[in-house]
Subunit: 750 residues, 2 copies
Amino acid sequence: MTLTPVKRPEPKQLRAHVIQETVDTVVSAEAARLAEGPEWLTQSQENHGLPLSVERSFASFPVWELTHYLFGGRERAEHRERLMSDIERDPSFMMLDLKHDLPMGSVREATLRRARNFTETILEEHESVTRMRFDVLAMVDPSFMTRVGVHYALFWGTIRGQGTTEQIVDLASQGMLLLKDFFGCFAMTELGHGSNVAGLQTTATFMPESDEFELHTPSLLATKWWIGGAAESATHAVVFARLLSNGTDYGVRPFVVQLRHPQDFALCFGVTIGDCGAKMGRHGIDNGWIQFNRVRIPRRAMLARHVSINRAGVVRERARGSRQLAYGALITARVQIAVDASNACKRAITIAVRYAAVRRQFSPHPEAPETRLLDYPSHQARLMPLLADAFAIHFAAERTQLQQQACSELLEAVPESPLAVRALADLKALHGTASGLKAHSTWLAQRVIEECRQSLGGHGYSSYAGLASLQADFVVQCTWDGDNTVMALQCGRYLVACWRDRTGRAGLSSNLAYLATLEQALAYRSPARRAADFQRLDLLVQLYSSVCAHLVDTAGVKIEQYLSPAGGNMSPDEAYREAAPELLRAARAHCLGYMLRQFAEAVTAAPASLRPPLEKLCALFGLHHLIESAGALCAIALEKSFLSPEQLRDARDCYRALMPEIRADAVPLVDSFALPDFILASPFGRYDGDVYRAYFDRVKFGSTLSNEAARAAGGSGDRRATSGPVRLTGQEHPYFESQLKPLFRRTLPE
Amino acid sequence: MTLTPVKRPEPKQLRAHVIQETVDTVVSAEAARLAEGPEWLTQSQENHGLPLSVERSFASFPVWELTHYLFGGRERAEHRERLMSDIERDPSFMMLDLKHDLPMGSVREATLRRARNFTETILEEHESVTRMRFDVLAMVDPSFMTRVGVHYALFWGTIRGQGTTEQIVDLASQGMLLLKDFFGCFAMTELGHGSNVAGLQTTATFMPESDEFELHTPSLLATKWWIGGAAESATHAVVFARLLSNGTDYGVRPFVVQLRHPQDFALCFGVTIGDCGAKMGRHGIDNGWIQFNRVRIPRRAMLARHVSINRAGVVRERARGSRQLAYGALITARVQIAVDASNACKRAITIAVRYAAVRRQFSPHPEAPETRLLDYPSHQARLMPLLADAFAIHFAAERTQLQQQACSELLEAVPESPLAVRALADLKALHGTASGLKAHSTWLAQRVIEECRQSLGGHGYSSYAGLASLQADFVVQCTWDGDNTVMALQCGRYLVACWRDRTGRAGLSSNLAYLATLEQALAYRSPARRAADFQRLDLLVQLYSSVCAHLVDTAGVKIEQYLSPAGGNMSPDEAYREAAPELLRAARAHCLGYMLRQFAEAVTAAPASLRPPLEKLCALFGLHHLIESAGALCAIALEKSFLSPEQLRDARDCYRALMPEIRADAVPLVDSFALPDFILASPFGRYDGDVYRAYFDRVKFGSTLSNEAARAAGGSGDRRATSGPVRLTGQEHPYFESQLKPLFRRTLPE
Ligand SMILES: Cc1cc2nc3c(=O)[nH]c(=O)nc-3n(C[C@H](O)[C@H](O)[C@H](O)COP(=O)(O)OP(=O)(O)OC[C@H]3O[C@@H](n4cnc5c(N)ncnc54)[C@H](O)[C@@H]3O)c2cc1C
Ligand SMILES: Cc1cc2nc3c(=O)[nH]c(=O)nc-3n(C[C@H](O)[C@H](O)[C@H](O)COP(=O)(O)OP(=O)(O)OC[C@H]3O[C@@H](n4cnc5c(N)ncnc54)[C@H](O)[C@@H]3O)c2cc1C
């Protein structure tokens, strides 16, 4: 149903109010019409999608153009859409949200079912398409994506990065890439060591007499832990172990090790594997633990591109891998997580905004229709900043990826030129920033998801709303692939390193330009003269730069102090350790400032038609994290006189005034993320707004399903939802006979 | 094993460093001793609890005295301990954390099993003991507590509060209190209405011809939703429905309705019930939905203490319940949630601190032992403020309860005296504050739990760590019993009401004293002269009062503006709605300030031996939320010149300096919460520190259990963990034949 809006809003008038009135008018008219019909009609039409249609009809910008801009142009955006519908139609991906009602075993089995068609597909397509496919799949089924990612990115990625050409060719020829008698896992972490990889304790001792290694788990803490795919599906692993030869410890190296026989899946001799058991989310991936009891593996099992060992057990370090390649790979992995964080935010906020446009609660006076949540200023203040976060993380991740690619290409094209020197500096800076971005985008996303979940009220607690599992699946991103605190510290250390080095440098990367002009940044006085000036992105970016400059400077000064005789003559390691809280504060501001700058640049580069809404969102992002979020950046701005108290008040007014403006486009803005219902997998996020009917149907279906499963399991399976909408008698009730009857019939004490 | 510390720290020296060194010395000596023995010995002793013993030996205060102080004196503390061991020994409560590995159906059945012994126990004990029992049970099994709470507090509580004496006696005599043929639920919320209770749509139409009501669900959105106990275990409900008589709508009233026949549990005619299905947590409680299709119930089913209806259908409002009773009940319910929030924080931080005292990661140089997490300044900066939060919420909840009781007793004892006037004012203020406290204590706890979870690294993602389910079970407290945003708004509205009324008042409650002396509060200049002054609790309390005064004032001025002709002549409702973001900000600061003040008063009242550690924790709480947490309170302090920039820097230094001091007592401080391992239900929180062995055993046990369950279910049950530490061959593998074999054996495309 298309609608011509009743009344076009004047520019600058409060469009939000006009939209609110229009929706109320249209909806009441429809309700009156329906009230004349039979009761069943009223019931079934109760919450049709009218509000969303009206909201859409008021969009102030071309929605699909924004979609194209977000996803790299019309062609790529359409390609992405095709990929999504491809996956939607793949039978193995049907009814994804069944996972809420199926036993864990079936969920894991589904992961494998999905892997079957997959390999052929990706081997035939271009890498850029595969990357897009991975982004989408990570939303569709995070567990599946993890299982496949473990094999391709971690297992095979390590072989490709650390194996000699012969080793790579040899292993590929055996079918490793095709999942033919091979399914890999990545066994680095141990019970006792995760972040500190150099401290791993599994040993691989070279036995010259038989030209083999003896792989051994010397202690409980050396047990390989959390290994994705190990529990039930892997045949092989890349195992990280200490290379010992002739009594010398050569540090941790990767070894390709067979765990199970692909014919019958029996464990290889000396290998013990168990399941890590129940966990918070990602139930479809089988994490396991592995112990080796003096397992013999051939010498060629060690991946030997960088370090090799000969027949006599002599260990030789070969040319170390190119720095730039290593940076490139690390940046890619971390930015990939930021992409995932932005996607998680997009899903959560799409669900929250659409529901808020439909849900009504409380009316201002008895005759008025109830107010929609989206029309509450407090609800706007909750959701609009999260919408801005989703965009900010999106652009920051996207653009970091592009910069990394550009630098790497430049380095390859003109390796010795001055341009290349600059590119390498940029790459290093990107690496420093990417660690922080990984941490801060995932922390941000965690909060976005939880706030969206709570914004649904009680329904956010239902699994079918999709937000609880989004959260549970997502949060491990704060921990793996570099624990967030460790990553943020890495970013902070990099910032201080640049700070210490700032004068000696030819030129700092643009991301760190504020360190090159430190004095200037610290002497900054905002020229903003009224509230509206705080929508100026250039001013916001400068303000952040000054705040960052101050925080990096503070951390740097503290560290110099610790290093000095007066401050205790600490070693650099100790100094950085002691100053960790300051480093974390600096890294946090830097990452927010980085996201802001990337976002602002994306606004500048956007087609004119898209600039107004994006500009507002970008300003909201900057203002929100300045004024409201943890860390009190605005206090630093006041303290250092970057802002005067009056200016801070103006900034708050601007922040406040942006809410209803962005709210007026909130539905079109989440539409621009172009997430199909299939991926949202939440009745509350439905494009058509028919949330209640869909929710009720899903709940009824869940009961029926559990009923069936329980019946199939002979009554001893998962009987959670056995009552269903059926009229239960004692016989069918899961525990009436065992619990309720004895309770009701007991004789009471005197 | 008891240890004499190697070296007693000088006062004011960095005790944290001394402790660190002592632990390292003792642990290395022990390790050297073990290294001489056989390998299995080294393995099994790998992470004995030595570090915790050493930490404890350095306690700067008498730990059990603090326990007694926390829990209302030695006698009560010991009683609480006895209760806990009682529950621990009750066979139906054994092996609580089995829930991670059992199918949902068994978890729900366990809830009922636990209910069996329960009723007799509580009917025989004093109410204050029962309250203590409830606090403990809410930690032990939140689902069980919910089921029992629904029956006693909500179902029976409504009958007691809204029924006539006859109705109460009549229902009690039928066995309602004894769970004899009665198990109640509380059916208020509908699919379409939660916060707005006045908008509920279920109808109860009086039928004078048969002296009955016709209870009806007129639309999908009127379906009763989320009703705890409805899906599988309730026989009766208190149903909230609109009372219609002679064509007039008398608003929402409570009705006692039978849902099922206790003999065979068949549903009553016209009642349809379904399961709400999968949800985020509290899996042991059976939430259901209910629809009524013109169900007839007798006239006496309406609880008629406040509103009655006669044979002719004439509705009469009786004397309204006493205000003070209503306040009392609301305060009790909300404070109860704050108590639960503090308990959740205590559990989470106990686990996080003990693990951090054992876990090592990274060494400063190759020969040194790795650093324990607790010795990282960044880890201290993460955990110590959370420890302070746990104490702050504890004291605030505890003391609010006591104040409420004191006021109520005073009101009863000398109803007409000037004392009573003051007591009533205090009770109203407490009610305003309690709404905000409910919201902010649960929001705080949600973040505390998540941060603790992440602080464990990867192991925090394991269900067996206990933090994921603590979180999932807990967060619904942000939504039910008054959605947090709605509660915080209520608090904000109350604050502004007091602000508007501040001159007309005889005297404001002490919690709002800062409004009575508004000008003074706004003109405040901190007298702090050096960093150490920011440990002075009186100064911190004053600072908070001024910040609160400013924020309430800002919100109030804004509302006056909206109400004025210049500001749009809004209705009060509209004005409060528009100013909601300002109200929320004021409420937030007020609640933090309230917690701080309660905490500070508890410090003053504490025995001298406990004051030093509590003082530091209290200061940390105040400083943390001033400087670091969301909302940037310190920016307001700067802006209004309550603090100068130099003073803010001093405050930061003080904040920073408190970390290692509190860290030195961190283990004894969490010990003082006196949570037994049984309640912590996390290997990482074990009192003896033997975390890894316990974790590994639990994981192995989980697999075995799932194996057995799967076998019992004939292979089609929950097969999540079927691999276990067993050597799997294809035959036993849950999906080798169906998925892996076809994958490995397929013919590849050319
Ligand atoms: C679901 C899941 C799947 C996984 N899959 C795999 C897999 O397939 N293969 C694999 O090899 N691993 C896997 N992992 C392991 C993961 O990589 C590790 O959990 C991660 O690297 C963190 O290590 P850790 O758990 O040992 O935490 P730790 O390193 O012990 O960290 C614990 C805490 O200490 C803090 N900390 C650590 N060092 C410092 C420091 N220097 N300064 C300040 N604070 C510090 C951290 O911030 C953290 O809070 C998986 C983990 C999970 C949860
Ligand atoms: C596990 C569980 C068990 C439950 N058990 C029971 C039970 O046994 N019996 C029972 O009757 N109920 C029960 N409930 C329901 C619970 O009481 C409601 O979910 C709660 O009252 C919130 O109502 P709602 O879900 O309709 O949210 P809504 O009221 O629709 O709120 C949705 C969102 O809108 C916001 N909002 C609402 N009004 C305003 C406003 N005026 N201004 C600004 N923002 C606003 C809220 O903050 C929230 O974010 C249960 C819920 C859950 C999740």
